[in-house]
Structure formats: structure tokens, C-alpha cells
Amino acid sequence: MTPITRCVALLLVCWLGTAAAQTTAASNDDTLYRAFGGQSGLVQLMDDFMVRLLADRRMNPFFKDVNQQHVKDQLVAQICELTGGPCKLQGPSMKQVHNQIDITRADFNALVEVLQQSMDARGIAFTDQNRLLAKLAPMHRDIVNTP
């Protein structure tokens, strides 16, 4: 446990921020964005997500001291962009944001599980969930830094 307050919330910001490695993702096609309920759907999803992160025993230490509103705003913009929505987010790189905190593969997977719970609660279809996860997953290379 590091003494410094963790900010794995930015894990999500970056998680979504630099997924453009595979620009094969249909950038003009916003079907996935609409499947997630557009802007208001994403806002509600991220509100629910933050609540679950704080309630999750594994994720709570990463999120209890962060600027939660900032993180949620960034997440909404990032997922919006990734799923073909009209947002453009520019911010620090994933590596920069997570560099100061120790994040293991198990931490990354745990966050994926909490996101899956949120998406289940919002009634998002399994196939749509997997399509989003497919865009988010490669970010593990920049986020997981321990060991």
C-alpha cells in the first residue's frame, strides 16, 4: 500500500484516452455510442460505476481520495469518443497518469469486473459490453506497471 493517495480513477481516463492504437475502430459509426445511451447514458453509467468502485473492497483505496467528478467527466468523454460519439478528449497520456501509482494486473482485471457489473446493471447487452472492452483492454500495457 503506497502512502500516497492513489488515483486509479485516472486509470480509466487514460484507459479510454489512448485507445486509438487501433484506428480500425469505425470512427464514423456511433451505434455503440447509442447502445450505451448516448451522453446521458454514459453519465449515468459512470455515476453508477464510481459508486461501485468505492464500494468494491479492492478498488476503494484507489478511488477514495481522487477528484471523483473530474474522473467521471473524463471517463464519459473518453468512452464517448471510443464508441464513436461526438466527444474529443485531450489529456495526459495513460502512462503519465498511472505512473505514480502501483497498479497490478489483478487491479486492472478487478476494475474491468466492476465496469462489467455497472454495465450489467444498466442493461447493456453482453455483445456491446465486449465491444467496449475490446477497445479498452489494450490499455493494460500502459496502465499495469507492477511488477
Binding site: T2, P3, I4, T5, R6, C7, A9, L10, G17, T18, A19, A20, A21, D65, V66, N67, H70, K88, Q90, G91, P92, S93, Q96, V97, H98, N99, Q100, I101, D102, N145
Partner: protein, 231 residues
Amino acid sequence: MFRSSILLGLSLATWAAHAGTVQVTVVDRDGRPAPDVVVLIEAPGARAPAAAAPVVPITQEGLRFVPTLTVVSLGSTLRFTNKDAYDHHVRAMPSGPLGGIAPAKTFELRLDAADEAAQQVDEYKPPVPVKRKANPVRSADVKVDQPGPIGLGCHIHSSMRGQVYVSPTPWFGKTDAQGIATIDNVPDGPVQVNLWHGEQLQDQAMQMVQSGAAPAKVSAQLNFTPRRRRS
């Protein structure tokens, strides 16, 4: 004539003798070199030189405070400059692993994004032109007149962490990557070497050393092992 030249020689010798150097080598509890350890030297009874009031730069770049640790003298001015392409809200935070040491000075600065980021923002995306304010405030000064630690944080980016230490004595330094700090101009005589690290739970043991013509070498070991930082 002879006597005055002796007196002159003696006073010259005394002048020269004031340029004592203390070299402190610090390792952590596992025996590895400990960088970023604050070294403070107390010389009781010695006359402090005229206080300098330098302006010490601390930049925000790549979502970090550069340098991460800054040790300054009382009365210095910290100049915070934002070189990143996004805003930072720099603020003073408590120090210590449990956040139990109140900052020696409180402040909150809103620093706007730089025109050109110090580093490339995002290697995956092409740069997007960002709207700039008419009169951006990229830099702000904070004068520190109380000794003690000041933690640095950013209200927006919670992972940004830095440390300032305002030294109560004019003789101070911080250890480099090899765990070595060299402090010059230390007055002659017995001096006290104190160490401080932002993650320590207990005070480090103090050491006395004799400062004089020959450089005084001090070896110290921290009572804990700090978290290793990634570059």
C-alpha cells in the same frame, strides 16, 4: 609588523576555515542508496550568513512536479510554472505517509495550460488545437517564511505529488540518485545532521559530526525503506 602579519594570517586562516564541507551518504533500511532525502545541518552558535531570498522554480510537466523534492531556505520564493498542455490546480497538502503533518504554508494556484507542452501529450492521438484563454496565468509565486514540509498536489490530477521542505537552517541539501548530499560552507565545529523523508513514520536518528578544514563524511541509514519510484 610581524605581529600584524601573524594576526592577518590567523584571521585569513579563520576565514578559510569557515568553508567546511559535509558529505552525507544515505542508504535505506535494505542498504540501497536513498535519493530525495532532506539533509538539514544545524550549527548551534554559529552566525548565519545573510539570508538569501532566491526564486526557486518548480515546474509541472508530464503530470509531475519537477523536481519532485525541492529544499529551500526560509524566505525563498517558489515559482510554480505549468508546462503541460492542460490546467493544473496546484495546492499545498499535508506531508507524511498518513498526511499528518500540516503544510508550512497553504496555497492554491490555478495555472493554465501551456501553449506548447513540455512533452508530447499523447503518443496515440494527433494534437488537437485547444482553446486558449485571453490572458493565461501559467506561473505563480509563493513566498515561504515558515520552516517545515509542504506537500504538493494537484486538485484535478490526484496522482500528482511533490514535496517542498523549507529549511530552518541555512545549511541544507537533498540526496541525489546515489544517495549522496554535499553541503558546503558549513561553519567549523560540531554540527548536527538531521535527515527527513516524506514517507517516514518515525524521525530519523540525528548525528553529530565535526566540521572543519577536511570534508566531513557522514554515513546514515534510514529507519525504513521508501517506495521505489518509477522514472
